[in-house]
Point group: C2
Chain length 321, copies 2
Amino acid sequence: MGEFELIRNYFAAAPCAQGGEGVALGIGDDCALLALPPGEQLAISTDTLVAGVHFPDVCDPFLLGQRALAVSASDLAAMGARPVAFTLALTLSQVDAEWLKAFTQGLNRMAQECSLRLVGGDTTRGPLSLTLTVFGAVPAGQALTRSGAREGDLLCVGGALGDGAGALSLVLNQRIAEPSVAEPLLARYWSPQPQLALGQALRGKATAALDISDGLLADCGHIAQASGVRLVVEHERLPLSEPLLKLLDLPSARQAAVSGGDDYVLAFTLPPEHLAGLLDTGWPVQVIGRVAHGSGVALVDADGQDITPSSRGYQHFRSEP
Amino acid sequence: MGEFELIRNYFAAAPCAQGGEGVALGIGDDCALLALPPGEQLAISTDTLVAGVHFPDVCDPFLLGQRALAVSASDLAAMGARPVAFTLALTLSQVDAEWLKAFTQGLNRMAQECSLRLVGGDTTRGPLSLTLTVFGAVPAGQALTRSGAREGDLLCVGGALGDGAGALSLVLNQRIAEPSVAEPLLARYWSPQPQLALGQALRGKATAALDISDGLLADCGHIAQASGVRLVVEHERLPLSEPLLKLLDLPSARQAAVSGGDDYVLAFTLPPEHLAGLLDTGWPVQVIGRVAHGSGVALVDADGQDITPSSRGYQHFRSEP
């Protein structure tokens, strides 16, 4: 038995490869089989993370496993899908038992948190990279897409913005901070919490949704374009975390909140009549603007003046030109 | 708009991203959505191909696109699944418009042949590799797994064996051959024909099935293990193609047929009463052995003597240790 077959057996025996609703056949055949209840559709998303591009060449494999799955699961949250399963295509430059053990532990932890079962994949030799494909279920016609925002809707987010970008400066050693500041930010970076429950709670309420991975303004631009509307973001309503405000001054923190990425909180548009109900049931929903007639995204100050920055781009770990 | 966003738009506009039954939402949102008819299960398989490991660093991108999808689709054939959709995670070291155009043409061609629609993916920068995930549909309980072979079943394959291994020696320039020999073999290598229709025809008939990717004996070993039986392969019944017999002498051709990989024809076990019906309707089914009591795989000669080679390993383009 070759090293790579051993690895396949290793993953097949991992806790995250066991159990799970909706999985009719797991690892070990030519295909996995998923069985959804009648009336449900399958949501699918694929993400690749490449060493040296999306994460440091040298990083803690536990954190990498945890983060990789969380980032993918966040796309299921953005559709309002119930998590079901995932596949992992893992390309390794060398086989290191300690690395694999820690990586699988991180993967297991997040799989458990997200109720996702590993149902298949591939292990190959080559430069380190991971491709995760996640599967969720959503009642037919109820998925949250990007195209339903309507003039008059509120623009909301599911939590503090900018922590991902603030943390990245720590990951890249561009800044240093005392533990009380660094630790919560690094936790947000290495262990994002996909807002799966919020996404499902937004079904039938939100008119459009996505998860913020490339930065608030850039991602809101996707909703604006798909829905044929204009999104107006109010600068002073951006939710900022305490650690971020200790790491950065207010203008820099706001800059991180509008142009930073890797936050993996949901952004969504909501008819005003649904706001009170969501707040009453304790969802961490923050109104940051509104949907208007027109196109594109505008950032406005307290007086309603347009202060949209010319560049909205977000540089991930290393930029993709 | 960055280069990689341009590529995403490029794939979204590709012919293979259009149409297709069972696709409720294609490229462009956080997830794709598949809708299966009630009573059907979803079959999923993921394969990664890495440059320099699974294909030459320099190769025709049209052929690469075509082959990559065919190899993945073959896993759907092995389950008896009807092809539905696929995702492509493409990691590129540089963006080359000509390369992308040819690659997409190859991908489109195979997608059309297999009735598979591109519904999503990811494009990233890094060392060239591809991860394809394919999706098919199969009536609940009718998927062909590896675990149902029973003593008394016939062992069958869906066509000639060894062409993949024969072609590899041409791809690697280890052999040369005149065009009348090289061309059909190279076509088998670069444009394998996933036996999707045969797989579906075997539903309710074959007791176990898989596609031969790692070599006949190695792959039959998977059926033997999963089913708890012994598979006996008769050396003299191995179907060999004319071009292979022109490239190699008979012993070498038989060696390629039992230990070579990359053939992507189906191997399956079949209760004898189903054979005539399959042959009558014109399926290219060849009986090569039988299912016996015991475990493992045996290769026997015309006198029933065990001539199983000690090493069954198949070396792909470059071996994975």
